[in-house]
Symmetry: C2
Amino acid sequence: MAKDFTSRAKDYSKWYNELVVKADLAENSDVRGSMVIKPYGYAIWEKMQAQLDKMFKETGHENAYFPLLIPKSYLSKEAAHVEGFAKECAVVTHYRLKLAEDGKTVVVDPDAKLEEELIIRPTSETIIWNSYKKWIQSYRDLPILINQWANVVRWEMRTRLFLRTSEFLWQEGHTAHATSQEAVAEAEQMLHVYGDFAENFMAMPVLKGLKSPSERFAGALETYCIEAMMQDGKALQAGTSHFLGQNFAKAFDVKFATKEGTQEYVWATSWGVSTRLMGALVMTHSDDNGLVLPPKLAPIHVVIVPIYRNEEQLAAVSEVALKLKKELEAKGLTVKFDNRDTHKPGWKFAHYEFKGVPVRLAIGARDLENGTLEVARRDTLSKETVKQTEVVDYVSELMDKIQENLFLRANQYRIENTHQVDTWDEFVEIINSEKGGFVEAHWDGTAETEEKIKNLTKATIRCIPLDALEEQGKCILTGNPSSKRVVFAKAY
Amino acid sequence: MAKDFTSRAKDYSKWYNELVVKADLAENSDVRGSMVIKPYGYAIWEKMQAQLDKMFKETGHENAYFPLLIPKSYLSKEAAHVEGFAKECAVVTHYRLKLAEDGKTVVVDPDAKLEEELIIRPTSETIIWNSYKKWIQSYRDLPILINQWANVVRWEMRTRLFLRTSEFLWQEGHTAHATSQEAVAEAEQMLHVYGDFAENFMAMPVLKGLKSPSERFAGALETYCIEAMMQDGKALQAGTSHFLGQNFAKAFDVKFATKEGTQEYVWATSWGVSTRLMGALVMTHSDDNGLVLPPKLAPIHVVIVPIYRNEEQLAAVSEVALKLKKELEAKGLTVKFDNRDTHKPGWKFAHYEFKGVPVRLAIGARDLENGTLEVARRDTLSKETVKQTEVVDYVSELMDKIQENLFLRANQYRIENTHQVDTWDEFVEIINSEKGGFVEAHWDGTAETEEKIKNLTKATIRCIPLDALEEQGKCILTGNPSSKRVVFAKAY
């Protein structure tokens, strides 16, 4: 399986593209920039969705659904928003096709032109705040805490599976509050939910911070983000949470009567993560043998491969295997017993290794005699012989160990590839090195300097970490004073 | 709550529209034909999704995701399909907006015209079979059993919340098989899954049958359906399952190598249910006091309303209420304790009645003295006094009773409003009567007669029931011979 597979060292980007396709996660469709998410990839996304949805509900949010199509004029109601999204909108102009003159193909029916064009949502602030206007009259109607699971379209010229596609799946939370403080607290809460999910379920360490003004969401007063480091040292923005101030309330004229009887504009947040997380997951843990999945998001936890020479041996092995399968399932694990006779054990070993199944159990004739079996870990590629009587507890505990090991390994990698830098030369050297990584450096706080650094090195400010220390320093480019370090990196 | 609410007898259609909006299930958006599904409505849809998804997985299906946008030319590859859907397609012609000359609004950028227009999927057969072509080479690749949860758009001129909207949410199963028999068995299996879901979860009895040729899905050789009777005697098609033969395999040139080494076209099915089920659910059970929900799909099973005169009484009642809430939750029930002091008990009673919460518990000071409380059923509107020590088991069992009662009541209604008819006069009398209902009558099997009956009475053939008896008879319109009765009704 892994033989026609590019290694990370040889070409990281190619490695990723091949891995996503060969592991049956997704593939490009014939529709420009749109992907097909295949069942194995979608099963991982479903696990992500289920966990995130649980966390959203535990923090008091409800799901709802708003229209896919947005009148063009809505977009221009918020000035920064239209500036940010107009250039990448899919536009619906007609509502009917008709038979062409050849009698076979179809053409757009010119009589079915829409009076006002509709755009496919690139994000739903405008259509949702247009509804909130009807829902909010008084402080009693607040807060509104709503999430939506949806598809969105942003026309992209250069696309990559999961990381950047014209259509992608995501969730977008949209909340409305009576005070600025409450909205800020909500935006921060959701950032922490994302951080918790990334670290404890994806086993992916993240930096939590604020975006610089020039990297903010179009229409936000403040954008919080989580940033992860991939194995090529590049940063990947994995989730964002925006404090929108009163911008959308003003654009859609959404006021509420306060307890005191005055009329005020409503305060807003929005926050989202997308199928991009799938790309982050793949790039954080996987290796030259294929996918590596944290147990908490793996569609299959354990695969059992029988090793046999004849029907009789298969029958004896199967009996043990099926008993184990049942016991492991009772522990909440998903177990696959692959007894197909069309493929050899060696092929199966490589196959499930490539698919990132966390644990493989192999049982052969000798194991039956000895009351043992072989347990192989996907994360370390190590094997151990374990007694059959102990294997259920052993494997069950192994899941936690693998989950933890993946996090620690990724965390160690990030630590090793994060550098504090105080001079421009050092900055350039590290940013341009093969290993790349995060660079903690002082910045004078101006958009101009940020832009210059980007033009000179392709590095951007990934975030101003929430836990950055107050520290007097000098901007690495201009030497102007700075009070805290920000994190620079090249990014996806 | 129910005071500004139209009764079913007065205007059934108005009753439905008001109920959907006033019970916070959904509302019309400003985007023509698109609805906003509000949190309470969406919570019911999520329960439907979760159960259906479980049933699909239990029958061996996996979820995946295919692109929203379909090249226009795909549609015309299957002749009947394009005929059925071209007239209602939303067409994307451009991928960018730009600032208008006024410097404020946006206009479509004429330079961003697509070479080939894209349509928003009205259903996904074409895009999916375009992928299956790449996935299927040999019999070993079959069957493919995939389901997709998605939004689709079919441009509708006259829309009604849930029942007919331009955008709706649904699931669409698309399977590929090596033989015709296997595909037919799949289509029938999924019909039974839908029937099981409708009857055992929605508590909605359904007829299972085949559509007449003229009512088939565009591109199908056979369309199976479930049909339910609403309280105005009209039929509602609640789900369809199609045997597509080799039509899409031929259109997209999808062949497979058989075991014997020959090349054959693949056999297909597709099957779907949509947010239309929400409309069916509402119209099957609800009454002049508002929504009535079967416990298996109710977002809240039990509401506890405290009745008190002072803080001290509230504290005492709350203690009992919170203990009960915990115990009921341990039984798997969702319980709301509404202790808001902004609303009176009478208002709360009416509110939760309108929202269709299956059971209401009221606890007052006298109940504390007597160790009792009041249990009210939403389905029968009856009340009983029950001992606190017995109430958890009582309520838990009540859920099953209510679920069963709703089914039996709806079934009784359907029986009473289903008529066997042998003459045209009787047929017209019943179809045109206020009560309407299902009419079992003989039909000569021709599309011409079907069309005439429709034009004369607005009644259509809802289905040819799978369990229809072989019986010699004469077509009610033409007198020509017929071998079984079909079911006629006016329909949504």
